[in-house]
């Protein structure tokens, strides 16, 4: 009799266990397969985001593959993403080259249950689950103008170098900076006089900077959101003997502008920590997969080693930790 009850109990447990098994599988909290592609591989900035993401994946018990073409060409990025989808990962992390061109393949990925997270440069909103934005457009605009104030506290004419008229973040930064110089008392000392395009190309940025200085004799500061153009402008200023008269600033890797800060030809540049940005991006996708984070407006992503980050409209998680490098601080960073 007793044994019968035990057997029934065992069978019941087995049934419950079997029923619970799929539910348990859905609530997997670790061991995800993540795949990441930057705009292009080989550039120190993106390599660091990849290393950061790998570190997060290792800590969380996931695997992460980092791959991509060696130049920023959208059809190659789409091909990479297509190859990712074929390999059936749990999550995809990317920095989009063209927000719309990557949308069809990403939508297909989401239909297959893959969680898609963007960082650095966003994809079209319906094509991804979340976007880890390094700085909000306004933060970026303000930190660049703050750096320009360190260069030229008395203000004067400023000019912008963007990658191209189609690069959404550069154009948004320039628009907000222009607005701020008209509306915010702190920045009213500046007068924007020109915007030029240099395609994130070193030689072209140099030429553009030289032309800007020739076209505007009273130019005080050249500002660029491009980590390629800002150091090129600094080089052009030094090479054409404008040191002390014109300053370059904007976003640049510390390693690229260390020289100019240390020899005094430039005073300040801005950036953020790419390693941590990649770390947070991978963390966000993992937490979403594990069911511990839903990127709805107001939700907070808790990353123990990096901080707490708030989600804004359309699943935009703002990382938002700008850094300003000066002669005194630039030595602390190794990227």
């Amino acid at each position: 009799m007793k044994s019968k009850i035990l057997a029934a109990l065992g069978a019941a447990l087995l049934v419950v266990g079997l029923a619970a098994a799929p539910a348990l599988a859905q609530q997997k909290t670790s061991g995800f397969k993540l795949m990441m592609t930057p705009k292009w591989t080989g550039f120190p900035y993106f390599e660091l985001t990849g290393e950061g993401a790998k570190a997060a994946a290792t800590e969380l018990g996931d695997t992460l593959v980092y791959a991509g073409a060696d130049h920023a060409e959208v059809s190659l990025q789409v091909e990479t993403l297509q190859n990712f989808v074929t390999q059936k990962p749990d999550g995809i992390i990317l920095a989009a080259i063209d927000l719309n061109a990557v949308a069809p393949v990403l939508k297909d990925a989401r239909k297959k249950g893959i969680v898609v997270g963007t960082y650095d440069a966003d994809a079209a909103v319906p094509a991804r689950d979340l976007f880890v934005n390094q700085l909000s457009y306004e933060q970026a605009a303000r930190v660049m103008l703050d750096a320009a104030l360190i260069d030229a506290p008395e203000g004067g004419e400023i000019a912008f170098i963007a990658a191209s008229p189609t690069s959404p973040n550069h154009m948004a930064h320039i628009k907000i900076m222009t607005d701020l110089t008209q509306k915010d008392a702190k920045y009213k000392v500046f007068k924007p006089v020109d915007t030029q395009f240099a395609n994130d190309d070193d030689a072209k940025s140099y030429d553009v900077a030289v032309n800007l200085m020739q076209a505007h004799p009273n130019l005080k500061v050249i500002i660029s959101s491009s980590a390629v153009s800002a150091p090129s402008a600094a080089r052009a200023i030094e090479a054409t003997g404008h040191v002390g008269k014109v300053w370059a600033t904007g976003f640049a890797l510390p390693s690229a502008i260390k020289r100019y800060l240390e020899n005094g030809s430039e005073k300040a540049f801005a950036f953020w920590d790419p390693w941590e940005l990649g770390y947070v991006a991978a963390y966000a996708v993992h937490q979403k997969l594990a069911g511990k984070f839903e990127p709805t407006e107001g939700a907070v992503l808790d990353v123990p080693k990096a901080g707490k980050f708030t989600t804004f409209k359309d699943g935009e998680v703002v990382y938002g930790k700008p850094l300003i490098f000066t002669k005194e601080t630039v030595g602390k960073y190794n990227f």
Binding site: A67, N83, T86, P104, S164
Partner: protein, 338 residues
């Protein structure tokens, strides 16, 4: 015809087929995801656009000329399509117009090259920039994505139970068309004869100028068609569309056995070279091999393609020195006009 084809062993085409099979086998060991029908057909989509350019470029190169402005013509095409879509023009009207605009851009290249005898590399380097600039002007500052669904069909749909991309069928039709043109018509023979010896062709009564302009116009028209495929595939029209894809196109043409100096080669070789490059890139991509490695492989294949005629000549000299003496150096290689 048959007897001639038998004598001229299409050595290079067979080499390419063997290489494709080898690359496929290698890819299937690289990645467990490689060997599946959907995957294989789906992966061809990445090569349709460069493939259409390669077909047009093959005709231009057979004349001993080059056109590196084709990718910029795609951009002119995509932004023009975006204007038509925004204005509500049906694709049936806008598609022929865009193909015609492509042909016009190409014909302009041809005019400069053939009529005024300017070096084609310099001319198309110039128009590469000019057409790109034009695309940015037409496309204004922001990309356009709000395409009517009919515009997307050609580049995004699949047929036969959702396995075969429509764009692959389009490419196959165009490949057959260009093959027929180059190997079965008088026009094709004229192209190869101009590539071999322009002056001799002129003395023989070939209208060199017109033949060249037509070749460039054809390449431009195919770039216009590629623009329509682009819109379906990526749903995005911007001035920078297809920027930087020309290395792949030139590699396919040269590796396919079209002599870079003109006069020799086959369209089937170009198509096979596209499949070979596609297979290699698909396999490496699925194995997540880094971009720099892939570019090195692509560049090496381009060099191999350029070296091929010299290597083939050396090989022929070794294997059959007597025949060489009798036929002269021109006789060793297949002239491609079988």
């Amino acid at each position: 015809m048959a007897a001639k084809a038998k004598r001229q062993w299409p050595f290079w085409e067979f080499t390419l087929i063997v290489a494709i099979l080898g690359a496929g086998a290698w890819s299937s060991t690289l990645s467990p995801y490689y060997l599946s029908v959907d995957q294989l057909f789906g992966s061809t989509r990445a090569f349709i656009i460069p493939g259409l350019l390669a077909l047009g470029l093959a005709v231009v190169v057979s004349l001993g000329e080059i056109d590196i402005s084709l990718a910029s013509i795609i951009a002119v095409g995509t932004v023009t399509l975006s204007k038509f879509s925004a204005a509500g023009v049906p694709l049936g009207v806008s598609a022929p117009i865009v193909v015609a605009i492509g042909a016009l851009c190409g014909a302009f290249n041809g005019l400069l090259v053939a009529k005024w005898r300017l070096p084609s590399l310099a001319v198309t380097l110039g128009t590469m920039g000019a057409y790109r600039g034009l695309a940015f002007i037409i496309g204004s500052e922001v990309g356009y994505t709000d395409f009517d669904d009919s515009y997307l069909w050609l580049g995004s749909e699949y047929i036969f139970h959702g396995i075969v991309p429509v764009s692959l069928i389009v490419f196959a039709l165009m490949a057959i068309l260009v093959w027929f043109l180059m190997h079965r018509t008088v026009y094709g023979r004229r192209c190869f004869s101009i590539g071999l010896n322009t002056d001799a062709s002129w003395f023989a009564g070939v209208d060199v100028t017109e033949t060249k302009i037509r070749a460039y116009a054809l390449a431009g028209a195919l770039a216009g068609l590629a623009a329509i495929v682009w819109i379906g595939q990526y749903g995005s029209a911007r001035g920078d569309n297809a920027d930087g894809s020309i290395l792949f196109v030139v590699t396919a043409v040269v590796l396919g056995g079209i002599d870079i100096n003109g006069g020799r080669g086959t369209i089937s070789g170009v198509v096979l070279a596209l499949f070979l490059l596609g297979t290699i890139r698909n396999g490496m991509g699925l194995a997540n091999i880094g971009g720099p490695t892939q570019t090195v492989v692509l560049g090496s294949l381009l060099v191999a393609g350029v070296l091929r005629p010299a290597a083939a000549a050396a090989l022929a000299r070794l294997s059959n020195p007597a025949r060489l003496k009798a036929a002269g150096p021109q006789g060793v290689e297949s002239s491609g006009q079988e």
